[in-house]
């Protein structure tokens, strides 16, 4: 069964000019967002992206950018109260969930 979350929100960008087609993004992406064809990566379905950041982290030529963060309401809620570090998304931590 394919799970899909909200449409048109994922902040994932691929710079195809920089891409060298190494395929690393396709390897690390847990939702098969990428396919590699003609030695370039291509985004299949951006709505499958959960912004985990694995692709941008492992792209050797920085062709991928993503607003990395955890899709966790609890973390967002805690972030609202404690205030986020600038530009940085909420992370797991504190008591409660991921520790």
């Amino acid at each position: 069964m394919g799970f899909k979350y909200l449409k048109g929100v994922a902040a994932l960008k691929l710079d195809r000019d920089k891409c060298i087609g190494c395929g690393m993004c396709g390897t690390v992406c847990p939702h098969a967002v990428f396919t590699i064809s003609d030695n370039k990566a291509r985004i299949n379905d951006i709505d499958l992206c959960m912004e985990c950041g694995a692709c941008s982290m492992n792209c050797p030529v920085s062709a991928l950018t993503v607003r990395k963060g955890v899709g966790c309401a609890y973390a967002v809620l805690m972030g609202m109260f404690s205030g986020n570090k600038d530009g940085e998304g909420p992370s797991c931590g504190g008591s409660g969930c991921c520790g």
Partner: protein
Amino acid sequence: MALCCGENQILSTSLTIKDRLGSWKARWGIGRMDHSMEPGLYAVGIPDEDSPVLVTSNYKMTVDRVRENLGGRDLWLMVLDTEGINVWCAAGKGTFGTEELVSRIDETGLRGKVTHRELILPQLGATGVSAHEARKRSGFKVIYGPVRAEDIPYFLDNRLTLKADMRKVRFTIFDRLVLTPVEFVIAMELMLKVFGAMAILSALGILPVERADYLGLMGATFMGTFISPLLLPWIPGRAFSLKGMVTGLVWAISAVLFLFLRGNANWLQFFSYMLILPSLSAFFTMNFTGSSTYTSLSGVEKEMKAALPLIIAALTAGILIRIVSYFI
């Protein structure tokens, strides 16, 4: 042969009853934050200088899942210090990360144990580890293995290749089921405080709280933390809060109908339940986004911006109406 296993602890590939009990307790939130083990380099079987090196987190449940899939094999297991957190969450926080990986290689003296320069990491560790960066800094090539430990044997037996679906996270009904106890336990920590406050108000004679109020809230909590996660793909809507509202509404209607059939005709009470119970369920279901395997930060923020004000407004209005209903 000779290299092993002086200072390296040997890990068994079979789990004891104590191991299984430990996993079960962690699932219920009992000692979950202390369910960890010592980071370092462990031997599985009798590894030598050519044996593969697997890397994992020091959440004990994770190590258990890995080692129970390594029966009959000789290899090294390097356990990173992730503060007792599983691979994916730790990678998200960065504790399962390039820095820790590189320093753990140094600390364990891995270079002296193996002659090759390859590490097999769980795919979900890629959120925290940069393979090219790690190679630059340590000389070790990072190879990403499968998402799930159960696919490690296939990976090792097929020249480090995988079938496409072994690279994807799933979220089966069983995956969701095992996550519900801790959702329920965490929600109940909050609800017990609410029930306590209600009981005090009742004991002081300020509000004549009824048994139906407790049961209604319990039901909504159960809907939000158990029924919604379990039935997730079949409940209409994409936003988790919407799904939770649906299950909560089903519960609210059932509760109201039950009370009505038993002769209760307090319409304000019914109305308050229709506001409170779906909101509560929506809130708890929304929190399940953190346990799900496919929600994004941007999506959760968008959902919360719309849902949270509605939840707060409906809860407040519902509580006020319920208070009024006690006295009419």
